[in-house]
Symmetry: C2
Subunit: 232 residues, 2 copies
């Protein structure tokens, strides 16, 4: 029997190496959670984020605990992040990004991520899972909204050992849910996040033997706007 | 934009090559669903089931449409199906199996399976997903119960493009949910299922260069009991 005791303050943290999840990892640690970072290798166009993830984890002394799950999205088409034949929009002002589901949406990606995170957590007897979604800057992603997270928390609990333990359940923590990108960075700076070790770009370019952010995809634009607003 | 039209009677069918899911595949086809079978290769102890899956699909003319997703369960311990160091109980009478969660339970397996099935379905513009769970013979699995399926259907819909399409949602079909194993086989025989091409055993043995069911694990016992009851 695997212990499900809530008394242990341990958490699995979904950690991509991006700005948001790096901040979340620091927040979880600051809140006293013994943290188990996990990442996903799904042949994403921006797999370079995993190199950044590794750098931050080295600095935090958590590299030995890091797990990377390989996911098979090869048969799930229709996302610009996993299908290089779909173009990533460039040079859009945040006002132009709108609320529509963007081409970078990967079908059910966070549902799959959270299912894996919960499976891994359950196998370790951990009840807490942190995820760095927010519903302000990327309002177009259905799997970044509060109603999805509530519903997923319930499904995960009912589909696991928690179902047979009255009062026991998974707890999904999404501390960035209602923060703007600038507020996230502000919070992270207070906690000592080194944002130079985070990656946001969806469409990395290779130049002079270096991998660089494109500077023009939605993710780059939102990142730059947020830093500009803070440092103005 | 991907069409989400319910008018098209197409379905993704979770299909392991086992007795239950083979029956479900036949039921979906009998109900007029143009069916897209998917399977999972998660280094399960009984991966031989995929060979059986292939045989049945050849017979049904669906082999060309079959997709097998590779899943990484290497970091999710605690199940006898994915960890060969955990022993599979043998020779238990169905009355001894009880309602407790069995060692063959793989943490959140059906949650992960359904998330992938829905992601694949969404990328094809399909709203219907069939799954061969039942809550009678295997009452110990939390992810085979009606309350889990309802909750998961909601989470999948809220985490996908359906969220932005009023009135649109995923439909999870679990036509075996309240059937006994004998009733499932009876139904399958009416639909022409060849059960010689299905695999149930959790712990295959190799003898004389052949892979054979062990005959003693819970899954073998329940299968034999069901056939015996029908053919008595």
């Amino acid at each position: 029997m695997i212990g499900l005791g809530d008394q242990e303050k341990r958490a699995v943290v979904l950690y991509s190496g991006g700005l948001d999840s790096t901040t979340v990892l620091h927040m979880a640690m600051d809140e006293g959670y013994d943290s188990y970072p996990i990442s996903f290798d799904y042949k994403q166009r921006h797999a370079v984020e995993l190199t950044f993830a590794k750098k931050s984890l080295e600095k935090l002394g958590l590299l030995g605990r890091w797990k990377v799950f390989k996911l098979d999205f090869s048969k799930v088409k229709s996302s610009a992040l996993t299908d290089s034949s779909i173009e990533i929009p460039k040079g859009r002002h945040p006002d132009e990004m709108g609320d529509a589901i963007p081409v970078s949406y990967v079908p059910l990606r966070n549902t799959i991520f959270l299912s894996y995170a919960a499976a891994y957590a359950e196998s370790l007897g951990i009840n807490h899972v942190f995820i760095g979604v927010n519903c302000l800057d990327y309002s177009g992603y259905p799997d970044c909204r509060p109603e999805f997270l509530e519903s997923m928390e319930k499904a995960l609990s009912l589909g696991s050992r928690h179902a047979d333990n009255p009062g026991s359940s998974f707890h999904l923590h999404a501390p960035l849910l209602h923060l703007t990108k600038s507020e996230i960075i502000k919070k992270g700076r207070e906690l000592g996040v080194n944002y130079d070790l985070t990656w946001s770009c969806y469409d990395p370019v290779v130049e002079d033997g270096m991998v660089k952010p494109c500077g023009a995809c939605d993710s780059c634009v939102l990142r730059h706007e947020a830093f500009d607003a803070l440092d103005a």
